[in-house]
Amino acid sequence: MKRAVPILLLTVAGLVPLWRFEPQPETASAPGATAGAPAPTTTGQVGAGGVATQSVDGALVRTRHGDVRVEVVFEGDRIASVTMLEQPDSAPTRKAVPLLVRETLTAQSADVDTVSGATTTSEAYVESLQAAIDAKG
């Protein structure tokens, strides 16, 4: 049985507001960059879990460095993912995207029982969230 992996995303869920409303020198945002945005297009479907998923193509954002467009996938009211449809190939963008991803890959809840992710040295363990959970007992 071959299953496709239908969601292939650059997880920049926070990218949309950051890029559009919070220009910062180290990002690709440029003042006044949001002009001329067409209406978003959406396509909907119902996911396997019965939760409605909806894909929304973000507005085209013209920046000094190039065009930016994202696709946001919602599951119900929750942003499940964001894909970069277009992004400028510029040094600031290459620098900014990891920062943005760092923000937006962060899960919406940090209340967990345990953590998956290679903690293979005691030094790393001491610095890990798992150590905090274990210390809490």
Binding site: P6, L105, D113, V115, S128, L129
Partner: protein, 243 residues
């Protein structure tokens, strides 16, 4: 009740919920840790007197290996075939190293010991690879770029979660076909019915590079969350993302 010990070179934590008296559970946890220490002594490629090292040096006839090691080597061979050779316990020029399979298998056996002792709700976390019984357990996936953040939170019951990644030990996972480190993924997490499957599948898929994401997704019972080098997240629709 929670206990953490350093074993197999890893911090291993056991978290037991509810149920029996602490005394009874403490004995079961003792047994689980004793098993993991035994595995380390028998299968570590870093202990010259281990069965793995003796086999590798030719001091042990392949026909005389223990049933456990034979099982582990069979698992390695299985995943080597399934990945077209990307995953291998025998990378040319390197000592025999079945660690990728041993860890998940051994920790799943430790979990089975706890279940056999009557524990019905627990999580065993060995260096970030997690076997659970009962639940639901909320399992955070460590963010590949930030050890203080999560990239996702899953809700699992009676399932295992294993992550292979570059962030901790650097480029330590080799593509056995080339002998070179795999660099096109940052992290790859597999959810499976047991940790033997989850851990081996995660490591084998990581060794395949980008192609490993779809490969793992196609494995029976497996769900996948992966972050590639371009910071794109790939995931299967059945991934049990927490609400």
């Amino acid at each position: 009740m929670r206990r953490v010990e350093q074993v197999m070179g890893l911090p291993v934590s056991v978290d037991l919920r509810g149920g029996d008296a602490d005394g009874v559970r403490s004995v079961a946890v003792d047994r689980a840790f004793a098993w993991l220490r035994e595995v380390d002594a028998r299968f570590s490629p870093f202990r010259p007197d281990s069965e793995v090292c003796r086999l590798d040096r030719g001091e042990l006839d392949p026909a005389d290996v223990s049933a456990d090691l034979a099982h582990v080597l069979d698992l390695c061979a299985h995943y080597e075939r399934a990945t077209g050779g990307a995953f291998s316990a025998r990378v040319p020029g390197r000592p025999l190293d079945p660690c990728a399979v041993v860890k998940g298998w051994a920790v799943q056996r430790a979990a089975d010991l706890l279940a056999g002792a009557g524990a019905t709700s627990f999580a065993v976390n060995a260096g970030g690879d997690v076997a659970t019984a009962g639940g639901p357990w909320r399992v955070g996936l460590r963010h590949p770029l930030d050890p203080t953040a999560f990239s996702a939170v899953l809700t699992v019951t009676d399932r295992a979660v294993a992550t292979s990644a570059r962030y901790e030990r650097g480029d330590h996972i080799l593509d056995a076909r080339t002998g070179r480190p795999v660099t096109d993924l940052l992290s790859l997490t597999v959810v499976a019915p047991d940790l033997t499957t989850a851990d081996a599948t995660a490591t084998a898929a990581f060794a395949m590079g980008a192609a490993g994401v779809e490969w793992a997704a196609a494995r029976p019972g497996c769900e996948v969350h992966a972050v590639d080098a371009a910071h794109r997240v790939h995931r299967t629709p059945g991934l049990p993302i927490a609400a």
